[in-house]
Amino acid sequence: MPEAKHVDAASGDVLLLVGTMKGAFILRSESARATWDVGGPYFPGRAIYAMAYDDRNGRKRLWAAVNSSFWGSYLSSSDDYGKTWTEPETYGVKFPEDTDSSVKQIWQIAQGHPGEQDTLYCGVEPAALFKSTDADASWSLVKGLYDHPHRPQWMPGGGGLCLHTILPDPSNPKRLFIAISTGGVYRTDDGGENWQPRNKGVRAQFLPPEQRFPEWGQCVHKIVSHPANPERLFLQNHWGLYRSDDGGDSWNDVANGVPSDFGFALEVDPNDANSVFIIPMESDEFRCTPEGKMRVYRTRNEGQSWEALTNGLPQENALETVLRDGMSADTLKPTGIYFGTRNGKLFGSRDGGDSWGAIQESLPPVVCVKTAVVQ
């Protein structure tokens, strides 16, 4: 096994949490984001599909979803920027005895609403939501979603039947969005007791024409919102790019001028609620960057138009794939935006996407990129 290197971090530093199919990496830079120290690999051989940084309640904690094809899936944490990680004797995220399910993989880690300082959520495969209100000391299945009458008809997408997105509405402590491939977007307005599908206007290209806009069953790849305007959401679909201005009640196509409306990664600019980044993929089967050009597309007008961002990105023979959690933005100004590819390349921009550079070029396949600014 390779010996892990470690990073140290101080207030003001930026962290990149990079999950790969062969372990996790922690990258650290000063706020200029000019050079990066690399820590890792942590959990070598394990697939790390979800990571998070938690600075609530006095913590400075990294979370990682550790997935082993042999030994199962569990949540680990580090309070020293990766030098040591917890290895729980018994797994916390698991289905209760009165269900017939077992966790195949943890796909997502999310923090609770503002004010819920110790609340964490995990989204898993098979599609289900787990909640901890005591910072991982105990977990419970969100039964309202598990018992949803649609659940038996949710179907696995190419990655499996996963609950991959968890989006608390910061303005409403009872409202939470989740997204499932393949099930679509669901919203609760009562803290998780009841869930309603919220997919009106989102197409299901894989269904016959007369059934192409179902109430639920879409293969939604990612949804994002901005805390300054939580009623507005963006959605990258398995074919289709959408915006909602009414909290998900309806969606409108905003794939205006992009080379493909198929894609996975989607990120909102923390410094501008009108700016969103996507990375279109040519598909359905190919799932690589169109024309062999590595292009990020940015809108600055909530999807009315998109511009290709190419400065510093390879524009020849760049057959890359960026997955649903493979892109993330930091909160500094100008915004830092980063993405990792299935070919193990990690690119970054420290000017909101205007120019780019390679940060790492030989990582294992990247499946997760998250950012944090150390306070």
């Binding site: 030994w71 199962g72 569990y74 004797e89 698991k94 005895e97």
Partner: protein, 106 residues
Amino acid sequence: MITVNVAGFLTDFTNGQNRIVLDSTPATVGQALNSLWQQHVGLRDRVVNERGQLRPHVNIFINDENVRHKEMLDTQLPDTCEITILPAVSGGSELVNRKSCIVNRK
């Protein structure tokens, strides 16, 4: 006497021991595993899932026989044997008999 052999990563949960003599006389593989969890609880979630099913890429041998070719966790044990728990090469077999590989989770 029944001895369980574990190797590699799993010894992180057995205080470094790779041979564990069970302090009971189980009749089946499932009963042996339950006894093993009593002695080393950290092995349980790694070897079986929350349904008590053997994880699909983990193999258990009784002496030199893979329980997947017998009755899974219902396989009867002789009075004296060695049980060996190993990760499967590549993916192992998904074609397991779900009913017969359930072990009591308590």
